[in-house]
Symmetry: C2
Subunit: 470 residues, 2 copies
């Protein structure tokens, strides 16, 4: 029942030679032995290869060759992302034995940085909304969320210290929040999706999950950046998020704010009315109100302000337009195959594809245009101060559904970076999370604010050490 | 027992509405029904999808939408090349159910041009030298050659009208020649290998097989050219080979040569001594001598000269250096996996990988440097007139081996374009072929000469209509 180990802490022990990658891996494998039967987070495990990699990295460590903060860190990879010579099952029965012939770019980069790939985590079918076999480790009668169900559950149980996920609507932030782990969906184009099953290519993002904001930054630094295999990836420089985090966290509880303009005014925007808060679960409303109160009143945050923001009126169309883009592109991705293999498509993805075939060309163009216009207008609105919104509409519901992505899909649509922090609990002990939205390609600012909030809540003892579930 | 239908002839019928893609496909499927049990050319067939595609293309034809000379042409694809939602088995037991999530670039381009993908043709394991299940349709006790065994056998039997192959050593030219079909290995970088299992990436080429030089040009025009998914592909313009062929063929048997400098002097170089002709099978030597005599004496070729060429002394190292590059890169490609799955590697590829691990860094660098130097020096040597060499060392041997690639590997090493023409027969009725080597990126000249030779031999009744085998 210990607090889950962070990448930051484990990495520090490994750097100092106080922990071997093999020791860390066996700790994770023991947790898998203990929880997996009930949680079902993994589609494929490759203990032999993980062990061989951990041994090699332990030997490197002993020889004084340290690769950096991911050296020897066990990582899970969502099962729509290629890992060399493991299947990429995609939640499909027909593809369950489809071995990848190369690592996806993001996996190759993690491996280069020293990560140990433990296996493939369960995804919903084709990364859409149909419920998976995975269960929420905080309550086995709840969904872990989707579509990155296994990644969230595995990180929550300490089966791995971080995980790769994806998000087209709310597939990273939602499961992470239901399962009580931290997550980051970076700006569109920041992390290459080369080697990843597409759902709706213009909306697909790689997401990251871990147990602290710093951990997210470590995963981000390793995976972000231009990929010659995917010309659509962003060519702009990857900011140094760890440095930005250090600066922000150092400022907490000092008088720094009184002397420096750039940190004086910490402002958070509450749930915007455009997000239709009337459909939020009362527990989420109460949680968000408490977070806002805490931010205003906590000893370490006494200079924080939380002001409302007014979003442009077009914002009310965002969810509908997101759905149109997703449906049309999913139909494009799967239309040919679903005709030949209808049985390999469960109801929700089937419905999405069918709907996508009915969206007119004009409607699609209108959606693309709205996205462009609004992205341009909003690209700096949440920068330097981020927007504060709930990460989910409710605590994790029962497992006939993977939950509602509507707190997340607007930011997938706009391609803006989002981070989620599990800062509270529902009355029946389920995790609740806030979501911060940043300016386009401003992950450094976003993660700095997120780390600041994490630090304040920790210092003021609001964010208590979390036990492991089960 | 008819002569196999060419893409050119079938395409012409389809263009004129005299043949429907569905009729052509059923003709191919009937041949598959008839021969496949004995020949074993196919790893996977997808009759349903091929049929659906042929029906769609027939409907397009009826509606007057003609895609060009590949409209409705049945094509086979070597089983290391990805075809969407068919397995890419690579001759591996473990990968036999590994479905591709996208078409390889060359497949996507063929499909766009109207080709009907019939299925995946048998490859040797990982496209190396271990014998496949496929048999030579001209003699079932002979090898079809390898590694593109199924592609060659399928085209020879008229199971499809053209096929995609690959070549790292001699994997396109050799099987095509053993099976009596025409083949082209273009210049390095001409056709993208994105979506294709690598063996030795710096040596891997896409190859093309069909039943005439014009057919090869049609396949080349559709598949060649820069691929943003593979930055190593050549950015230079794809020449119009069909136009070059028309010009060359029109000149045959006319007085054109007396008035135009550029076609007056048709010069062929015989087997260079550097190719070590002493190891050539006597039947091949006799065949090459006859080809040379015919070129000098045939009525339609009476102005052709065949002069010897002296290659630089470094050329004698080429075969050894090719092997070193291939071994090192194969070890890089497969080294990690063979440790985990030794049983999935048959003896020859296993030996190659083991050897590759023993080649020193210096040796590898020397090989890379020799390739660069020699490629530069030779890049225009075989241009405009090509080098004439035998396509294989012998007629197809018995099936414990796939035959000797040493007539082919120098051109894979140098990245020069090569075309093979089946112009003769051994005493026991096996096909024999010549090989023409062209200047770097000069496929138009190369194919024009090849078409000229084909035309001369046909007009002079040396290249007789070939029956189908079996």
């Amino acid at each position: 029942m210990d607090e889950p180990l962070t990448i930051t802490a484990a990495g520090d022990l490994i750097r100092r030679g106080a922990l071997a990658p093999t020791q860390l891996l066996s700790q994770c494998l023991r947790r898998i032995d203990k929880y997996e039967e009930r949680v079902k987070a993994w589609a494929y495990l490759d203990r032999d290869r993980a062990w061989a990699d951990a041994e090699r990295l332990s030997a490197e460590q002993e020889a004084g060759h340290y690769r950096g903060p991911l050296h020897g860190i066990p990582i899970g990879v969502k099962d729509i992302i290629d890992v060399y010579d493991l299947p990429t099952g995609c939640g499909s029965a027909a593809w369950a034995n489809s071995y990848a012939r190369a690592d996806a770019t993001c996996v190759a980069r993690l491996r280069q940085a020293g990560a140990v790939i433990v296996g493939k985590t369960v995804t919903t079918a084709y990364a859409y909304l149909d419920p998976p076999v995975t269960r929420n480790p905080w309550d086995l009668d709840r969904t872990p969320g989707g579509s990155s169900s296994g990644s969230a559950a595995a990180v929550a149980c300490g089966m791995c210290l971080g995980a790769l996920a994806t998000q087209t609507g709310g597939s990273t932030i939602r499961p992470a929040s239901y399962c009580g782990v931290f997550s980051l969906k970076p700006s569109r184009g920041r992390i290459s999706t080369s080697g990843v099953l597409p759902l709706a290519p213009s909306l697909d993002h790689i997401g990251l999950m871990a147990n602290s904001v710093r951990d997210l930054a470590i995963l981000f630094q390793a995976t972000a950046g231009y990929d010659p295999d995917q010309l659509a990836t962003s060519r702009s420089a990857v900011p140094d998020c760890l440095h930005a985090i250090e600066r922000a966290v150092t400022a907490v509880g000092t008088d720094y704010s009184r002397h420096r303009d750039d940190v004086k005014f910490r402002r958070f925007f509450p749930t915007a009315s455009e997000m239709r808060p009337d459909t939020l679960h009362p527990e989420v409303v109460a949680f968000m109100e408490k977070v806002e109160r805490d931010l205003r009143s906590l000893a370490h945050a006494n200079y924080a302000r939380v002001d409302p923001v007014v979003l442009p009126p077009e914002f009310s169309q965002v969810r509908h337009r997101h759905w149109q883009l997703m449906a049309v592109e999913a139909a494009e991705t799967h239309g040919d195959r679903i005709r030949r293999r209808p049985d390999d498509y469960p109801p929700k993805i089937r419905e999405l594809i069918a709907d996508g075939l009915l969206v007119s060309r004009d409607e699609y163009s209108t959606a693309v245009q709205l996205r462009g216009d609004l992205s341009y207008r909003l690209r700096k609105t949440f920068w330097p101060e981020p927007l504060l919104v709930p990460a989910t509409t409710s605590p994790a519901p029962t497992p006939e559904t993977t939950g509602d992505p509507w707190c997340n899909s607007p930011w997938s649509f706009l391609g803006l970076p989002v981070v989620s922090l599990p800062l509270g609990w529902s009355s029946d002990g389920l995790p609740l999370a806030i979501q911060l939205v940043g300016g386009d390609h401003k992950e450094d600012y976003l993660l700095a604010w997120a780390a600041w909030v994490e630090e304040v809540f920790r210092l003021d003892n609001v964010l208590k050490p979390r036990p492991l579930p089960l």
